[in-house]
C-alpha cells in the first residue's frame, strides 16, 4: 500500500464520517461544523488530485464564506433544534432504501460506462505555481465569457438577497 493510498483511505473515512455526522446530528450548529470539516477534507482531496486553485477556492469560499453565512442564519433564527412533530413511519426506511438503490446504480454506471480513457492520476508534484499559471491562462482565454457571466450572476444574487430581506417601507401619507 502506497502512502497516497493510505492517505486517501484515511481522508475518505473522515469525509464520510463528517458527512454522516452532518446528516445525523440533532443540533443544526453541529451539522454546520461537521460540514466545514467535510469541505476541508474535500479540499485536501483536490490537492491530492493536483488542483491547488480549486482547493484554495474551496477553503475560502465554501468553508469560509458560505458556512459562516449558514452559521449566521442558524444563530439569527435560533433554529438549532426543531420541536418534535410526528413523522411518517414509512418515510425513513423508504428514503434510505431508495438512496441505496441510487448509490448502487450511480456507482455501477459511473465505473462501467462513464470513465475517461486515461485513468492515471497526477502526483502531488502538480501543485506548483506553473500549474496555476496555466489554469489562469485557460480561464481568461477560453472561458472569459462564462467568467463575466458569473460576475453578473453574483451581482444578481446579491441584489436579490438584499431585496428579499429588506424591510417593507410603510406608506406615509
Amino acid at each position: 500500500m502506497t502512502f497516497d493510498l493510505a492517505l486517501f483511505l484515511v481522508l475518505s473515512l473522515a469525509a464520510i464520517a463528517s458527512a454522516l455526522g452532518m446528516v445525523l446530528s440533532r443540533n443544526a450548529v453541529y451539522s454546520a461544523l461537521y460540514l466545514v470539516l467535510n469541505f476541508i477534507t474535500v479540499a485536501v482531496f483536490y490537492l491530492l488530485l493536483g488542483a491547488p486553485f480549486i482547493a484554495m477556492a474551496q477553503v475560502t469560499i465554501y468553508a469560509g464564506a458560505i458556512m459562516v453565512l449558514f452559521l449566521f442564519v442558524i444563530m439569527l433564527l435560533g433554529a438549532e433544534n426543531l420541536p418534535a412533530s410526528k413523522v411518517l413511519p414509512w418515510q425513513r426506511p423508504l428514503a434510505i432504501g431508495l438512496s441505496g438503490l441510487l448509490f448502487a446504480e450511480a456507482a455501477y454506471l459511473l465505473i462501467s460506462k462513464a470513465r475517461p480513457s486515461g485513468s492515471i492520476l497526477p502526483d502531488a508534484a502538480a501543485n506548483t505555481v506553473d500549474n496555476l499559471q496555466q489554469l489562469g491562462l485557460v480561464l481568461f482565454n477560453e472561458y472569459l465569457l462564462p467568467f463575466e457571466v458569473v460576475s453578473i450572476l453574483l451581482l444578481v444574487a446579491m441584489v436579490g438577497a438584499i431585496i428579499l430581506t429588506k424591510k417593507e417601507k410603510v406608506e406615509q401619507k
Binding site: L35, A51, I54, V73, L82, F103, G160
Partner: protein, 100 residues
C-alpha cells in the same frame, strides 16, 4: 497512485448521504446543507475526471460551480429568513399552505 474508481465511489457515497439528508431531515437549513454536500461530491468527481484526462477544463467548471453555489446560498438563505419571519418555523412539514 490512487485509482480513479476510488474517487468515483467516494463521490457517489457522499452524494448518497446528501440525498438521505434531503429526504430524511425536516429542518430547512439542514436540507440546504445537504444540497451543498451533493454539489461538493459532484465537484469532487469532476476534478477527479479532469485530472485523469489531464485537462484544466474540469477545474474551471468546478470553479464556476462554486461561484453558482455561493449565489444560490445567498438567495436561498434570504428566502429561509423570510419564511421564518412569516411562519415562525423552518420545519418543511409546516410549509403546507397550498395544500387543499
Amino acid at each position: 497512485m490512487v485509482p480513479l474508481d476510488y474517487y468515483i465511489i467516494l463521490s457517489a457515497i457522499l452524494f448518497t448521504i446528501g440525498v438521505v439528508g434531503v429526504l430524511v431531515r425536516r429542518n430547512a437549513l439542514i436540507i440546504f446543507m445537504s444540497i451543498e454536500l451533493m454539489l461538493n461530491s459532484a465537484n469532487l468527481a469532476i476534478v477527479a475526471f479532469s485530472s485523469a484526462i489531464k485537462s484544466f477544463s474540469g477545474q474551471i467548471f468546478v470553479f464556476f460551480v462554486i461561484a453558482v453555489a455561493a449565489a444560490e446560498v445567498a438567495v436561498g438563505l434570504a428566502l429561509i429568513v423570510e419564511i421564518f419571519k412569516s411562519k415562525r418555523s423552518i420545519d418543511v412539514d409546516q410549509m403546507s399552505s397550498l395544500k387543499g
